[in-house]
């Protein structure tokens, strides 16, 4: 009797865990499935700013404060380490940023460094675009707001690109498209 209960329990857990996985898969698919424009050349034009911004974010802005294999050697950053000065900068924004400065600094640097790479590749485009949008909003309103429009422009540029990528997804030119086009 015990054995039957145990087996039925295992079957229950197996069924429930597989249904949870299916559910996650379904939502993940919906999240990354890109909206395709009518013609391929329209997707091609849309991919140019995405790749340029992604590369700039991961190679320049991100790698300077987040440890990646291509971070400058003399910055002395370990893999996935955030630069020592960045949490202090984030803490100066005050409020919740002062309380959880390490978390927000790490997330901001991660969004730029890893998010930029994924944005360029068109992989998990929407979630990483969302992270980049959040990071750029913080950069604009907490860091650069008093420094004039000119200083806000880089963050605003990344914000606009990430904003429409968050809606469209990767388009035809990205890993998300390769992953989702096989299923459909």
């Amino acid at each position: 009797m015990k054995t039957i209960t145990s087996q039925s329990g295992q079957a229950f857990y197996a069924n429930s865990s597989s249904s949870i996985l299916q559910l996650i898969g379904k939502y993940l698919y919906k999240m990354i499935e890109p909206i395709l424009l009518p013609n391929w050349w329209q997707d091609f034009l849309m991919v140019l700013p995405r790749i340029v911004c992604g590369i700039l974010l991961t190679v320049d802005f991100g790698a300077a404060k987040f440890g990646l294999p291509w971070s400058p050697v003399d910055k002395n950053l370990g893999l996935f380490e955030v630069a020592y000065w960045f949490p202090n900068d984030v803490a100066e924004y005050g409020g919740i940023f002062a309380k959880f400065s390490v978390f927000f600094a790490w997330m901001g640097a991660f969004s730029e460094a890893v998010g930029g790479l994924f944005l360029a590749l068109g992989f998990l485009t929407r979630p990483f675009s969302f992270l980049i949008v959040c990071t750029m909003l913080v950069a604009i309103f907490c860091q650069q707001i008093d420094n004039g429009t000119w200083n806000m422009l880089p963050a605003m540029g990344f914000l606009w690109v990430a904003l429409y990528q968050m809606i469209l997804g990767s388009g035809r030119f990205g890993i998300d498209y390769l992953l989702t086009s096989r299923r459909s």
């Binding site: 002395n76 950053l77 370990g78 600094a105 790490w106």
Partner: protein, 121 residues
């Protein structure tokens, strides 16, 4: 339970252990100044605290070797810092890159320079 401990460990690492470690680096700046008369103020400016690009970190004249000196202690994770010297509120090396000061493996780095002349090391 194991999963909870693992998740807690990952979160703890992500929120606390992932910030670059810092060390204390002391740099002694020694500056020679040639061809400038009527020197009123001499300082060094840079991009790591306690230096800044807005105001001088004062350098004092050392009669023994006729140079201006400043000892600066940094708390940094990097292996270098960038500076420029300033005389009478005027920056040296206008329109040129900053001086890159590489920290030595020992506690103290001695950086010797001549105002407005770029070092070759």
């Amino acid at each position: 339970m194991k999963a909870k401990i693992t998740i807690f460990g990952i979160l703890l690492w992500a929120f606390t252990g992932c910030v670059q470690k810092t060390t204390t680096q002391t740099v002694v700046y020694k500056l020679s100044i040639k061809n400038i008369k009527d020197i009123k103020t001499v300082g060094v400016r840079g991009n790591n605290k306690p230096l800044s690009w807005q105001s001088d970190y004062p350098m004092t004249f050392d009669r023994q070797d006729s140079t201006y000196k400043a000892t600066v202690t940094y708390i940094t994770g990097y292996k270098f810092t960038e500076v420029k010297f300033v005389v009478n509120d005027e920056f040296e090396l206008a329109d040129q890159d900053n001086r890159k000061v590489n920290f030595s493996d020992k506690d103290t780095t001695i950086y010797t320079a001549t105002f407005n002349v770029k070092n070759n090391y």
